[in-house]
Amino acid sequence: MKRMHTVPSTNPNVLSLAVQQALVDLLLQLADDDLIFGHRSSEWLGVAPDLEEDIAFSSISQDEVGHAALFYELVQKLAGEDADALAFARSSTERKNARLLERNNGDWAFTIARGFMYNAFEHVRLQAALQSTYLPLQQAAQKIVREERYHLLHMQTWFENLGIAGGEARSRLEKGIASAWMELPDLFSLGHHAAILVEEGILPSTEMDLYKQWAAMVQPVFEKAGLPWPGDAFGETKMVGLTGTDGRTGAHSPDLEELLNTMTEVYRSNVQAKW
C-alpha cells in the first residue's frame, strides 16, 4: 500500500489526477450522505412523536449538516469548487448519496430503522477514515466520530425499544426494516473509484470489509430487539459491488428530486446572496 501521510497537505499538486478524482468522489459520498440524511432528519421538526424527538432530530440534523459542510469544504480546498454550490447547486444525477437516505421519511419506525442502519454504517466508515492516509480526512473523522456516537446510541435505543415493545410498534418496525433493507446495497458501495481508494489507503477498507463490520455491529442489536436477522435473504455477496441503481454513481429515485427542490428553494431564489 502506498503511503501519502508523509505529505500532510491539502495541496492538490502532490496528488496524481487519478488519486485526486477518487478522493473528491469519496468526499462527495460522505458529504452528500450526511446532507441528505441531515435534511430528512430536519423534516421531523414539529411532527415527531414527542417534544424530545423534535429536539433530538433537530440536533442530529444540525450535526449532520455540519459534517456535510466540513466535507464539502475539503472538496473546495482540493478541487476549487465552492462548498455552498456543491451542497445546493448540483443536480440529482451528480449526487453520490446512498439511495436509502433520500427516501421519504414515511413512518417513524422506518425512520428509526434507516437511522440505525445508517448511523452504524457511519461508525464503520469513520473507523476506516481514522486510518486514512489523507490527513485532512483523518482529522475530520477524529472530530466527527466523537459526535456521531450520540446519534448511534439514540437510534439504537429506539430500535431496541420498538422491537421489544411488540404489538403495533414491532410490526411497523418490521415493515420499516424490510423496506430499508431493499435499498441497503449501495450504502456499502464506494462507487467508480473503489479500487484506488482502498489501494491508496484513502479509505483502507474494502466494500466487503465495510459490510462485514457493519453486520457484526448490527446483528446483535436485532437479537436484543427480538427481531430475525434479514441478512440471509440476500446473501452477503449481493450486498457489495456496483449495481445499475447505485446512488454513488448518480442513479437516484424521484424522492431525491423532490428533496432537492425543497432544500435548494431559498438558495436558488438568489444564488449570490450571503447568509
Binding site: E52, I55, A56, S58, S59, I60, Q62, D63, E64, V65, G66, H67, A69, L70, P136, Q139, A140, Q142, K143, I144, R146, E147, R149, Y150, L153, H154
Partner: protein, 162 residues
C-alpha cells in the same frame, strides 16, 4: 525570529482582548476557558488567532470569528487580525479549563463528565442533588443534554462529553 518586548506586550494585550470574547451561547465563558484557543501570534502589528472549533455544526463559529476580529482589532498597536480555525487537534470537552467548568455550573449548566457516560446524569446544577435522571441526550444546543432533578422537580442542562 526573536520576538521583541513590544510584541510580547501586544500578545498580552491581544490575550486580554480575547478574554472578553464569550461564547454567544454561554455568555459567561470565554474562548480561552472553553479551550478553543490553539495559538496566538503577533508579528508586524498583525495578529493571528488560531481557534479550535467545538462541535462541527456549531452555528456560533462564524459569530465567534467576527467577535474576535472586532475585539482584537481594537487593541492599540494591532493593525490587522486573522482568525483561523484549525483541525490539528479535535476539540474535546476535556479542554474546558477548571475556571470554565466552575462558570458553566454557575450559569446553570452542569460541566461535562470526563468520559462517554450518556446514561448517567450529573448532579443537579441548581441544588447539587445526585437524585437525577437523563431526560434526553439532545438539548437546545448541539453540546448540551437535558436532565431532570427529582429534588428540585425540574429539568436542568448539562454539557456533553465529546
Amino acid at each position: 525570529m526573536t520576538q521583541n518586548v513590544y510584541e510580547q506586550d501586544l500578545v498580552s494585550a491581544v490575550r486580554a482582548a480575547l478574554q472578553d470574547v464569550k461564547d454567544p451561547e454561554i455568555p459567561t465563558l470565554s474562548l480561552e476557558e472553553l479551550g478553543m484557543v490553539y495559538d496566538l501570534t503577533v508579528q508586524d502589528h498583525h495578529a493571528k488567532v488560531q481557534l479550535i472549533p467545538t462541535f462541527v455544526g456549531c452555528p456560533a463559529v462564524e459569530m465567534i470569528r467576527r467577535l474576535v476580529e472586532n475585539n482584537v482589532g481594537q487593541v492599540k498597536g494591532i493593525e490587522s487580525v486573522q482568525v483561523e480555525f484549525v483541525m490539528d487537534v479535535p476539540w474535546s470537552s476535556d479542554r474546558i479549563t477548571e475556571e470554565g467548568r466552575r462558570k458553566l455550573a454557575e450559569f446553570g449548566i452542569s460541566p461535562p463528565p470526563h468520559e462517554f457516560l450518556p446514561g448517567q446524569a450529573p448532579v443537579c446544577s441548581y441544588c447539587g442533588s445526585s437524585d437525577t435522571d437523563v431526560v434526553s441526550i439532545f438539548g437546545p444546543t448541539a453540546c448540551r443534554a437535558v436532565y431532570y432533578c427529582k429534588q428540585c422537580s425540574q429539568p436542568f442542562e448539562g454539557m456533553k462529553y465529546v
